[in-house]
């Protein structure tokens, strides 16, 4: 601990070998106690499992072992080091436990998706649609194409609007309009995705006067509502990082403001902006609810964003699970394969974002 050690208690009677370490637990005491607690709990659970003839419950054993550790280390520390140090150790144990608890679902989700998704993660899955497929077979090509089209169109709408708005906020904005936009962009990041879907539906149902409207472009609009605030926020942060000296040097050379922004500010921050855009795409590509509302679902290929229902990958996963046919396992397998594809796409986008940030960031060679 980085804390000043409390003055050693005057040892009465017993000789102390080193007065600096008196009144402290040994250095690796917490590790030993943790291992011991988990071992004891595992032993207890193993005995219960053998006696009752049930399976060995490893999660419960580790969990109770950690709980026991929190109690034991507190008691030990209180006896040796005093109440203040004991509280410190208690909180340290709790905080580390909280972190470990958060890792459990992450590992579990990744593992189950991998295990359940691999059986149908084959060429057929990526080369066929679900048209006329009942039971096993079929694939998600129509959904993958739909996802790419809908998300691509959403990106085409969101990036110009979001980037220009960010430029306004950083380079031009002042007064109440700037404050208003900043505030409501933040508020917009919290719009529930299903409300965005309902908005797109309400908008196009009124415009086209078709109360049952479903088409891909509506999905793009809904996703844009979710994506624009993210693009604005990340681009704004990146534009703010551009040093003012660069702008001033450009003005001093007589360059107009708009050319300064286009030729100096944007190239300097382009890596960060692209990273932000990638991450915003990764965020909306997994959205299900708005697409369920406005893009609908179908089993056929559809390359036209502006007419007819369009399948997307998240909706594919949902419908495969929700509308299981006679051969339920085939549907569940397809759902998990779709989920695995989705996670891989999101992971790929994140990796690309990081690579872009590394490669295109301005060189600061001196």
């Amino acid at each position: 601990m980085s804390v000043v050690t409390s003055p050693p208690k005057s040892p009465v009677g017993t000789p102390v070998s080193n007065s600096l370490t008196a009144g402290k637990l040994p250095r690796y005491a917490s590790v030993y106690v943790l291992v011991a607690c988990i071992a004891v709990m595992s032993a207890i659970f193993a005995m219960v499992a053998i006696a009752g003839g049930t399976d060995f419950n490893i999660v419960a054993a580790v969990f109770l072992g950690v709980v026991a550790y929190v109690v034991v280390i507190w008691v030990l520390s209180r006896a040796v080091e005093g109440p203040r140090k004991a509280a410190d150790r208690f909180v340290t144990a709790l905080v580390a436990t909280a972190f470990t608890i958060a890792l459990l679902p992450l590992i579990s989700v990744a593992w189950t998706t991998l295990v359940n998704g691999l059986p149908r993660f084959d060429i057929q899955f990526f080369s066929e649609s679900m048209r006329n497929v009942v039971g096993p077979g079929g694939g998600a090509l129509h959904a993958i194409v739909g996802t790419l089209l809908v998300t691509g169109m959403a990106t085409l709408i969101s990036v110009p609007v979001g980037l220009l708005a960010a430029i306004y906020l950083v380079e031009y904005g002042r007064g109440r309009l700037k404050h208003g936009i900043t505030f409501f962009v933040d508020v917009m990041t919290g719009i529930p995705s299903i409300v965005a879907g309902l908005f797109a539906f309400a908008l196009f149902a009124l415009i086209t006067d078709d109360p049952g409207i479903r088409f891909g472009f509506g999905g793009s609009v809904a996703l844009s509502v979710l994506m624009i605030p993210v693009v604005v926020r990340s681009s704004e942060e990146m534009l703010k990082l551009v040093p003012n000296e660069l702008r001033e040097a450009s003005y001093a050379l007589g360059v107009p403001k708009w050319l300064t922004i286009l030729k100096v500010v944007l190239p300097t921050s382009i890596a960060g902006i692209i990273t932000g855009i990638m991450i915003s795409i990764a965020r909306v590509i997994g959205e299900t609810a708005p697409l369920l509302i406005i893009a609908g679902f179908t089993t056929s290929m559809n390359y036209n964003l502006f007419s007819e229902r369009m399948m997307t990958l998240p909706v594919f996963v949902y419908t495969q699970y929700a509308n299981q046919g006679a051969d339920a396992q085939a549907y569940i397998d397809r759902a998990w394969a779709g989920a695995l594809t989705l996670i891989l796409i999101v992971a790929l986008l994140n990796v690309i974002a990081r690579v872009v940030a590394k490669v295109f960031s301005p060189k600061t060679g001196r």
Partner: protein
């Protein structure tokens, strides 16, 4: 837009390029405000017929719109509250672990691991919740009702599938965890180092230093992070739609097979088959959800912004 300061300012020559570009940025910025207004206006326009709908138009035994939406609002708030009760302590623990306990070199990587949770699409969490979590916790629920059935929250009869509101709340908690953690982490890292060192120099242990310096400084941040997490939990759709076995009731029981459902899940489940005035009713419930989340988010942002103004340090 480039208004000149008074007196001896030199006015630049107006250039068409400048004019076009600055107008474009203003239009884009205003478009965002217009979009938000349009969301409210179009939802309202489509929702109006629902408020005067006949009793026959509603699913279940509701007579008017408010009776229909009442249990849904309750379910939305109840599920989100349960999720936050679980998520906030753990998120605070993680944020403290990353900002003040973990070794410096590991801290950033650990933060990235938690952010991975935010990258998992909600539909995958839904699949996971229904096929892994619900069966895993069902035996636990059974013993909970056996031992603590006298406590109203854990009253029986227990659900045989584990698809209860408590399971939903656990998944929701996992989903809002990265949001709350990320914000709290930022705030904790902004604590003035001098405050921390002063506490340590007075002989405080690490926990006492956190109690004295970090938590008081970060309190507004913690509150607004929780509100943002609340906003996300209120609007989350697919997990609730997939995991919960819903009913149109108001009930606090956590472990039964009859659970109050949420607005978002109700829309997702019923919208594909809805027609006529049924669509308007669902959009009206969506409007209610929009108003609730808008209020929550505005309060959260207001707290954050107010803090930004008076702390000149950052």
């Amino acid at each position: 837009m480039t208004s000149a300061p008074p007196a001896s300012a030199i006015t630049a020559k107006p250039r068409p390029g400048d004019r076009v570009f600055s107008t474009a940025t203003v239009v884009a910025g205003t478009l965002i405000l217009v979009t938000l207004a349009a969301v409210a206006i179009f939802l309202l326009a489509q929702a109006l017929p629902a408020f005067t709908a006949e009793p026959d138009d509603f699913k279940g035994d509701a007579d008017n719109f408010w009776q229909y939406v009442g249990p849904l609002v309750f379910g939305t708030l109840w599920a989100a509250a349960l999720a936050l009760i679980m998520a906030i302590p753990i998120a605070l623990g993680i944020a403290l672990f990353i900002s003040h306990y973990a070794p410096r070199r590991l801290a950033q990587g650990l933060g990235y691991v938690i952010d991975l949770l935010a990258a998992v699409p909600s539909v995958v969490f839904g699949l996971w919740g229904i096929s892994v979590l619900a069966p895993a916790v069902q035996p636990f629920y059974t013993s909970l009702t056996e031992w603590f059935g006298w406590f109203p929250l854990f009253a029986g009869p227990v659900s045989g599938t584990g698809r209860t509101i408590l399971t939903v709340a656990v998944v929701l908690a996992v989903m809002v965890l990265p949001i709350i953690t990320a914000l709290c982490r930022e705030v904790f890292l902004q604590t003035p180092v001098l405050h921390e060192e002063a506490a340590l120099a007075l002989g405080a242990t690490r926990w006492e230093m956190i109690k004295l310096a970090v938590l008081p400084f970060g309190r507004p941040g913690i509150i607004s992070a929780s509100m943002l997490g609340l906003g996300r939990a209120l609007g989350e759709t697919m997990v609730v739609a997939m995991v919960l076995s819903p009913a149109s009731i108001i009930s606090f029981a956590l472990l039964q097979s009859q659970n109050p459902t949420t607005i978002a899940a109700n829309i997702a489940l019923n919208f594909p088959e809805a027609h006529g005035i049924g669509v308007n009713i669902l959009i009206a419930t969506g409007l209610i959800l929009f108003v609730i989340t808008l209020a929550v988010n505005m309060i959260a942002r207001y707290i954050v912004d107010r803090r930004k103004e008076f702390s000149g340090a950052n």
